[in-house]
């Protein structure tokens, strides 16, 4: 039986909370194991710096990810080079793995449109803020690969299209209540597209706990309704996440007979911090709940395993930490050195060709700003 075909009640686990191997070791080389460790550390450190930048007024509202590194980094590393990622607004760690520079993520949350510019060689869609709205996009994106791979002779049968590209789409537990979730997964099943739907069940949608979000026993079982498999994984076990995602991507490319390509993965995990920096979680959750989950922290867990395998020692850990700190502070310097956008930039991307009336609005406005001086417009930070 594959990892995916199992009772959703039965959560996949590879490492226990102390980092001991308890499940089947995924097919993964030592270099990737170390990369996963490095990227998790990077995501954690980036997150801590970002929250502190916000506290110092150097960045706007920011959604922290600490606790979710295992799910983000483990799954992102399972993607093949040409695969695509469709993120929510919290996948800063996964995005780095996919090639989005840290500077972009910082800029976006610092309020710069430029942060949304995805480099040509990074297969990742921009951040989606309206909950669940990216899920139908992911279904459509993967559908497009199938449609494009149909050669002319076989054009009649869209469903026959085959593609080596697959993708992963991230969203939270709250997102599973939205209509877009149902419509997106339904399309994915109907058109049998190579997309893995990855639910970061971090237990809370702002203040509403998972039990108040749905009466379903698991989120993974929702996949049943769309005709494909759902699987629950320990989302704070990076190796289990890697394995499940790898299997799901493999199935997306080469489904077995009577199998549909999509999978919904429910990664059970916890976000240690606030929902966003604008949120105060002490209003709705208990500190001992947080402490209980912190015992499952994915980073020490993988670290213990890597040490026991002889892949990591104190010296390497120090080295990794140093490199990461440098990398993050360089990215912050770069982002903060970004010049403030000029007023006309606001008009630049609304249309491919700026309509004449809008050009007039722009020119008049630029003239207005010049007349009054920028200080008349920009509030003090």
């Amino acid at each position: 039986m594959s990892t995916i075909q199992r009772d959703p009640e039965n959560r996949v686990q590879v490492l226990d909370e102390d980092g001991n191997l308890v499940g089947e070791r995924p097919d993964i080389d030592d270099e990737t194991l170390l990369d996963i460790y490095r990227d998790m550390k990077l995501a954690r450190h980036f997150d801590e710096r970002a929250v502190s930048l916000q506290r110092q007024g150097r960045m706007g509202t920011y959604p922290p990810l600490s606790g979710q590194e295992g799910a983000q980094i483990g799954s992102a590393h399972a993607l093949a080079e040409d695969d695509w990622m469709v993120p929510s607004y919290r996948e800063h760690g996964a995005a780095v793995v996919r090639g989005l520079p840290l500077k972009q993520t910082l800029l976006y949350w610092m309020g710069y449109e430029a942060g949304n510019e995805v480099p040509e060689d990074a297969n990742i869609l921009p951040v989606a803020v309206p909950i669940a709205s990216q899920i139908p996009h992911a279904a459509g994106l993967a559908w497009s690969w199938k449609l494009q791979s149909i050669d002319d002779d076989a054009a009649a049968d869209a469903a026959a299209g085959d593609t080596d590209t697959a993708g992963i789409c991230y969203f939270g537990d709250g997102a599973t209540s939205e209509g877009d979730f149902h419509e997106g997964l339904n399309f994915a099943g109907v058109y049998d597209v190579p997309m893995v739907f990855f639910c970061n069940n971090n237990q809370w949608a702002i203040s509403v706990p998972r039990e108040k979000q749905t009466a379903s026993e698991t989120l993974a079982q929702k996949a049943d309704a769309y005709g494909f498999e759902g699987v629950q994984v320990d989302g704070m076990d990076p190796l289990a996440v890697y394995k499940v995602t790898q299997d799901a991507l493999e199935k997306a490319r080469n489904p077995g007979e009577d199998q549909l390509r999509p999978t919904m993965i429910e990664a059970v995990q916890y976000r240690f911090g606030a929902h966003t920096t604008a949120d105060d979680p002490t209003v709705y959750r208990d500190e001992d709940e947080v402490e209980r989950w912190k015992a499952k922290d994915p980073i020490p867990r993988l670290e213990a395993f890597l040490r026991s395998e002889g892949l990591l020692d104190d010296e390497t850990v120090d080295e990794i930490e140093e490199t990461i700190e440098q990398r993050v502070s360089d990215a912050i310097d770069e982002a903060e050195a970004e010049p403030r956008p000029e007023p006309e930039e606001m008009f630049e991307h609304a249309y491919a060709d700026l309509p004449p009336a809008l050009r007039e609005q722009r020119d008049e406005f630029v003239e207005t700003v010049n007349r009054h001086g920028k200080d008349a417009f920009l509030e003090e930070e």
């Binding site: 702002i206 509403v208 007349r371 008349a376 417009f377």
Partner: protein, 328 residues
């Protein structure tokens, strides 16, 4: 004389809602994070412990579900007050708003009306992420069957909210979050109404009429005060309800001054400033001394916050608009 409390605009929302929930058991509030958390802006703070979980309901994350179930609640005789966390997230429920909420009365030949109030924090200026700053009141004002309110003071907020809940028809109640906590005002305890559909003259003047609403009322008044020092006497009219619009007050003010400026933060094209301009054309052409000036947001998506100060009209731009109208 009733006692007063010194409240911010967001506290006035809470007070209005609590007052009406106290008086009328049919009123229920529902939405994301409004219960235990008191709403992301704390507009419903403490209401759940006061009225219980069945009257202040934490719903699943589903705008269509929230608005659609409120439509159902209202057909069943309740007076639901759904909250959408940010007006930028009303679109998943847009179908429910325009296909159902606005036309239930028409569809059922008045067998059913929907006495519901759809509340949402709205507008820009708080340095929020994408989709947290839009002002799309024109969508709702364009939709027949809805009333659309945008208050600008705590006193009005409470009185308008109570009127909206008591109104037999559905009301979209857009709360300018830029001024949720910008200032306080004395607000009477207990219930009182500020009628829907009536504008308020915030500053009397004889040279030019400036029509505005919501958060833009403040920079507009600021501009009017500073121009007064130059001898330009602007009248500032706060619409308060943008649909139905108080056409009489608008026309009356314009007939007095002969010049008009409209200020809103929504995009210029298709915005309500165009509606007001057309109204003056229809009703008061012969009083017109100068072209109507529109000081508005631009026809671009509301930018992220590094540029949002450029997007929102400010006192400088309002002053320019007023000068333009006066010096024509």
């Amino acid at each position: 004389m009733s006692e007063t409390q010194n409240l911010t605009l967001v506290q006035a929302v809470r007070d209005g809602l609590a007052t009406e929930m106290e008086l009328d058991d049919d009123v229920v509030a529902l939405g994301q994070d409004i219960g235990k958390n008191g709403g992301v802006f704390r507009a419903t703070q403490g209401l759940q412990s006061e009225f219980g979980e069945s009257r202040v309901v934490d719903t699943p994350l589903a705008e269509s579900g929230i608005i659609g179930s409120a439509v159902g609640l209202a057909t069943g005789g309740m007076k639901p007050v759904p909250e959408i966390q940010f007006s930028g997230f009303m679109y998943p429920g847009f179908d429910q708003i325009v296909s159902h909420m606005s036309r239930y009365r028409t569809r059922s030949r008045s067998r059913f009306s929907l006495p519901m109030v759809l509340r949402a924090p709205y507008g820009g200026g708080i340095r929020a992420p994408e989709h947290h700053s839009e002002s799309k009141e024109a969508f709702y004002a364009h939709e027949a069957g809805l009333k659309v309110v945008v208050p600008s003071t705590p006193y009005d907020t409470k009185g308008l909210l109570i009127s909206a809940i008591r109104d037999p028809d559905p009301v979209v109640f857009l709360e300018p979050k830029l001024i949720y906590r910008a200032f306080r005002e004395d607000v009477p305890e207990g219930d009182y109404e500020v009628p829907l559909g009536e504008a308020a003259v915030r500053r009397e003047g004889s040279d030019v009429s400036v029509f505005t609403y919501g958060a833009m009322t403040r920079p507009t008044l600021e501009a009017a005060e500073s121009l007064a020092e130059e001898g330009i006497d602007a009248e500032v009219v706060d619409l308060r309800t943008v649909s139905p619009m108080d056409r009489e007050s608008i026309v009356e003010s314009f007939e007095k001054t002969g010049r008009a400026v409209v200020v809103h933060e929504a995009p210029k094209s298709g915005g309500l400033a165009g509606e007001i301009t057309a109204l003056l054309q229809e009703e008061a052409l012969l009083y017109q001394e100068a072209p109507v000036q529109r000081v508005t947001g631009f026809d671009v998506p509301v930018p992220l916050y590094a540029m949002e100060d450029y997007y929102l009209p400010n006192a400088a731009r309002v002053e320019d608009g007023i000068r333009e109208a006066v010096e024509f």
